[in-house]
């Protein structure tokens, strides 16, 4: 069918002018939008005030919905565990017996470790934990992989701080508002993390691929030293992330790089902790984006 033709005003001068004005406003507005875009690309923390207003407004809804979803999401695991209860019980019992001796050995090793570290004066008791919170929502319709935290500046969270979960590294804080903060996840291409292989300390660089995996490139070897199953942890180089936070496990190789799966799956983790940058001055010197030292952070 034919649409109504309001866009053809005929001889009415007033209608002609208002039609012309709407084109002028739209095109001028598009140019202004382009300018805003350039500003926001040049300064990612810009428009922070505007963003935090909307983030604060949606926070209560997404935080309470998130609590419901996490409960439902774990329901399938609970049911599966119930069905397998018998066989699982026997298997776990055997495992516990095996683990008991290992645990005793580990305890002895830990104490010896503490003693040796004290001899070397290497004890590092400062974990730098600023606050703990939850991931409540994410940029699900955009191609940037950013998640939102339910804690913000009021709890000491500052842009550039590393975020990790018990399972492993999650990302770093991109923007912080009064009660919310945006986290650039490990799986985003803009997040580069210096890592090392746990078995032999081969250094590498992890960067996101935007599809839930990360790619690992070795720093100083010609051929690809990684193989599937390698576990990677942060190396502490660059001064932003503390050493030995679990990052990812290598899944497959692609030419000179390895594709790895993050150990902390952002859609399943419940609790996260925000930490201070490991060595803020070093992080700024290394030029890690967004790693400005927070004003209230002490030197570790």
């Amino acid at each position: 069918m034919a649409p109504p033709s309001k866009r053809r005003p005929g001889y009415d001068r007033k209608a002609q002018y208002s039609l012309f004005a709407s084109y002028v406003i739209a095109i001028a507005g598009a140019l202004v939008a382009l300018l805003l875009l350039v500003i926001s690309i040049a300064d990612p923390t810009g428009f922070n005030a505007l963003r935090s207003i909307t983030a604060e407004a949606t926070r209560p809804v997404s935080a309470s919905l998130r609590a419901v979803v996490v409960g439902i999401g774990n329901l399938d695991e609970a049911i599966a565990a119930y069905i397998n209860a018998g066989s699982q019980n026997a298997a776990l019992r055997r495992q516990v017996d095996g683990n008991r001796t290992k645990l005793i050995e580990a305890d002895a090793i830990r104490q010896e470790n503490i003693r040796l570290k004290r001899l070397l004066r290497l004890t590092e008791t400062d974990t730098g934990v600023v606050s703990a919170g939850h991931l409540i929502s994410s940029t699900a319709s955009s191609s940037a992989r950013v998640a939102r935290l339910d804690i913000g500046r009021s709890r000491g969270v500052q842009p550039g701080m590393p975020v990790s979960a018990p399972e492993g590294l999650v990302g770093r804080v991109l923007r912080a508002g009064p009660n919310t903060a945006d986290v650039l996840l490990l799986i985003d291409e803009g997040n580069v993390v210096p890592v090392r292989r746990t078995s032999d300390n081969i250094p590498g660089i992890s960067s996101g691929r935007g599809d839930g995996t990360v790619e690992i490139r070795a720093l100083n070897t010609e051929s690809n030293p990684f193989k599937p199953g390698d576990v990677l942890v942060t190396s502490g180089i660059g001064g932003l992330y503390r050493p030995n936070i679990p990052v990812a496990i290598v899944a497959r190789l692609e030419g000179d790089r390895a594709v790895a799966i993050p150990l902390a799956n952002p859609s399943r983790i419940e609790l996260i902790v925000v930490q201070t940058p490991f060595r803020p001055a070093e992080a700024v010197a290394a030029g890690t984006p967004g790693a400005e030292p927070p004003t209230n952070a002490g030197e570790p």
Partner: protein, 171 residues
Amino acid sequence: MIARYDNRIGRRRTLLHIRGTPVVTVMLGSMSAALVPAIAQTPLLPPLGLMLLIAWRLLRPDMWPLWVGLPLGLFDDLMSGQPVGSAMLLWTIILLGLDFESQRHFWRDYWHGWFTAAAALAFAIGGGWMIVRLAGYGGSAVQILPQIAYSIGLFPLAVRLCAALDRWRLP
């Protein structure tokens, strides 16, 4: 017979109700990403705000002023986490493009509407990816292809929703 229809015609509707319903639906569509409590690992949700904007545009071609992409796009940018200005620019280009297209092709049908909407959605998602890429974030282009596909596939549902709301909106 009269009792059957008298609650569907000649109802009392304020101007806010008539003019505000489309704006509110588009804004709710934009808010979906910030409200959905899932931590997405790939672009998961279709751009619901834009889909509703285009659906209203196809349903009532003279309803949106050409500049409406600016305020609604700003709101979408703040909610979706795209760089500010991204949806403002892309939505205004889409509205100008649809305006130009409706002057060139006067006669239209269901498939024509779906096709132009598909082109607009692909342009917006691709453009959004490009802008995020320029800002130094995001990932490869492959990850947005499923998002484009199901945005196009779900578009008729958005039109149905707008049509139902249109009947409720008007007196």
